[in-house]
């Protein structure tokens, strides 16, 4: 019987939607093999996010709310996860494949001497154990893997698992006692970049407009990529080339080393389609590529390709979509 502990993720109390996909993974495992799952949310001022988590048939929503946990510092969060995983006798600890989980979960896994699999896209029972599929080599290889041990840590790709159905009966809430004095204090939080308000996060948006090398400067990026995103109610993304040349901030990069997105619609504007970039977007439902090089590799994965100069095509597209 599985006892799964899902680690919820939030941004200053705002629940990240990828958490629901991790719960979807847990739901799928429990439906196939029996067992139950609990969700743990760690932070400060997280009551609203915890309330949202109650609607998805989890056995229990565990809330570790303390001012000493306001910032997501890996040493403190891993310490709390370690305690809860032990007291819950968890057999799996699962989070969404995000920078938060990648920072915190391997640390917690090692504290519990548990192995870990990153970027899981499928799970199937195998006797009393499981077989997982995960992506490697910048998305060019899918590995079928087993992980030995009574406790397993995983991160899951959000595009691969549907959120569980909402149910009327709310999950009970249990508060986790946090002894602030016993929390480690090796990492000191100094600050975080002010977020640009207005546009959604590319990992959560239904539409992502992404710009590449064809965009010459940041004003053009804002006018063309930002403009098209606003017309379509989408998020913006960028190829590595634009980040390297200082046109876009690091946090916009989509790819093997940036964000992995899987929206309904991805519009690649002037992006040639290096394998490292495609690793971050090829699970999109519909890909549109606009590029003046008819031989660009992006056209091999695009559902709709338009060969043309982005400086002409994008303004025309914005105008026609506004109608």
């Amino acid at each position: 019987m599985s006892k799964i502990l899902v680690i919820a993720e939030h941004d200053a109390g705002q629940l990240k939607l990828a958490t629901l996909s991790a719960m979807g993974f847990a739901h799928k495992v429990c439906a196939a093999t029996g067992g139950s799952y609990a969700v743990l949310i760690v932070g400060h001022g997280i009551a609203a996010a915890a309330e949202t988590l109650r609607s998805y048939a989890a056995g229990c929503v565990l809330v570790a709310d303390h001012s000493a946990l306001k910032e997501p510092l890996a040493d403190r969060y891993a310490h709390v996860i370690n305690d809860v995983a032990r007291s819950q006798q968890a057999t799996m600890v699962v989070g969404a494949a995000s920078t938060f989980s990648k920072d915190v979960l391997p640390r917690a896994a090692a504290l519990l001497d548990a192995g870990m699999i990153s970027d899981v896209i499928d799970v199937n029972p195998d006797g009393n154990d499981f077989i997982f599929k995960r992506v490697m080599f910048a998305g060019n290889v899918i590995a079928t893997v087993k992980l030995e041990g009574a406790l397993k840590f995983l991160t899951v790709r959000s595009a691969a698992f549907m959120p569980p159905q909402k149910v009327a009966a709310l999950s009970p809430v249990t508060s986790v006692t946090v002894d602030a004095g016993s929390l480690p204090a090796q990492i000191e939080f100094l600050g975080s970049e002010a977020k640009v308000a207005g546009r959604p996060d590319s990992t959560e948006a239904r539409v992502v407009i992404s710009g590449g090398r064809a965009i010459k400067n940041s004003e053009d990026f804002e006018r063309l990529i930002g403009g098209l995103a606003d017309v379509m109610g989408g998020a913006v993304g960028s190829s590595r080339a634009l980040v390297d040349s200082g046109i876009t901030p690091n946090s916009l990069q989509v790819g093997q080393t940036g964000k992995v997105v899987a929206p309904d619609l991805y519009v690649a504007v002037g992006i040639s389609g290096a394998i490292q970039h495609m690793a971050g977007m090829k699970d999109t439902k519909v890909i549109v590529a606009i590029n003046k090089d008819a031989e660009a590799p992006i056209f091999e994965v695009a559902d709709y390709g338009l060969v043309g100069d982005v400086y002409q095509v994008v303004p025309e597209l914005m105008e026609k979509l506004r109608k």
Binding site: A74, K102, V104, M136, V141, L147, S192, S251, V301
Partner: protein, 251 residues
């Protein structure tokens, strides 16, 4: 000051990865290998810290078979002072690697460890965080800006998170993992290569390190990802809008 920099031998990032016909593994026949690009960034940062301080010892370490000597020599040619090869079986997962690195750490007692955030072959992104946990040290992951502060007793680190840059300070000793934008590694020079031949490279059998590190992850099979079916070319913006509205029904 002593900085420990682990280097992993991986297929060159520009290599097209081929899977063996029976799915049992990747076909490495004729494939060029390189230092994992994120590890090269870690080494470059260590070299810059050494150049800034005027003095520091940089030790590079690899875990694997004799082939890893090539990557260690490369690290020495870039400017590391000394290399250690832990001779071990090829397939080790992140937890096993972290346990071995923890043993190397205890032997070397560095001021801190600088390593890549992930290896570009298995893309796990776990070893640094696990190493920090095993040693009970602080960690700063995905670092794209690094500055030594308070008399070189701490590092102020800019971390690349999904929400943007987060800044933390970690007390030494600590584990710092590097992201793409930290620096651009230098090229290896010919005098560097000549000097590297004379630098010490120590080989240690895993069994002599006194650590039992078994891989718990077992790879059963590999396959290529499903191919996206070839799409269509549209000639005009009108046609594109029409397809998105009426065929894909996405807008």
């Amino acid at each position: 000051m002593k900085i420990l920099v682990p280097l992993k031998r991986v297929p060159d990032p520009d290599t097209k990865i081929r899977i063996k016909a029976d799915g049992s593994g990747v076909d490495f026949d004729g494939v060029k290998f390189a230092v994992n690009p994120f590890d090269a960034i870690a080494l470059e940062e260590a070299l810059r810290i050494k150049e800034n301080l005027g003095d520091a010892e940089i030790v590079v370490v690899s875990i694997g078979n004799d082939d890893c000597v090539e990557q260690l020599r490369n690290g020495l040619a870039m400017g590391a002072d000394r290399a250690v090869l832990i001779k071990a079986a090829d397939e080790l997962d992140s937890l096993a690697i972290a346990k071995i690195l923890a043993a190397v750490y205890k032997r070397e007692q560095p001021s801190f460890v600088l390593m890549g955030k992930q290896a570009i072959d298995d893309d796990s992104n776990q070893a640094g965080q696990m190493l920090a946990a095993l040693l009970g040290l602080g960690q700063a992951t995905f670092v794209s800006k690094l500055e030594l502060i308070e008399n070189n007793s701490k590092a102020r680190c800019g971390r690349e998170t999904d929400a943007g840059i987060e800044t933390v300070a970690v007390k030494f000793p600590a584990i710092i993992t590097t992201d793409l934008r930290l620096n651009e590694p230098r090229y290896v020079s010919l005098p560097g290569i000549m000097k590297a031949k004379k630098k010490p490279l120590e080989e240690i059998a895993l069994s002599d390190l006194g650590v039992s590190a078994m891989s718990r992850t077992k790879i059963l099979a590999l396959e290529p990802p499903p191919k996206r079916k070839a799409g269509v070319r549209v000639k005009t913006v009108d046609e594109l809008v029409d397809k998105l509205r009426n065929e894909a029904k996405i807008i």
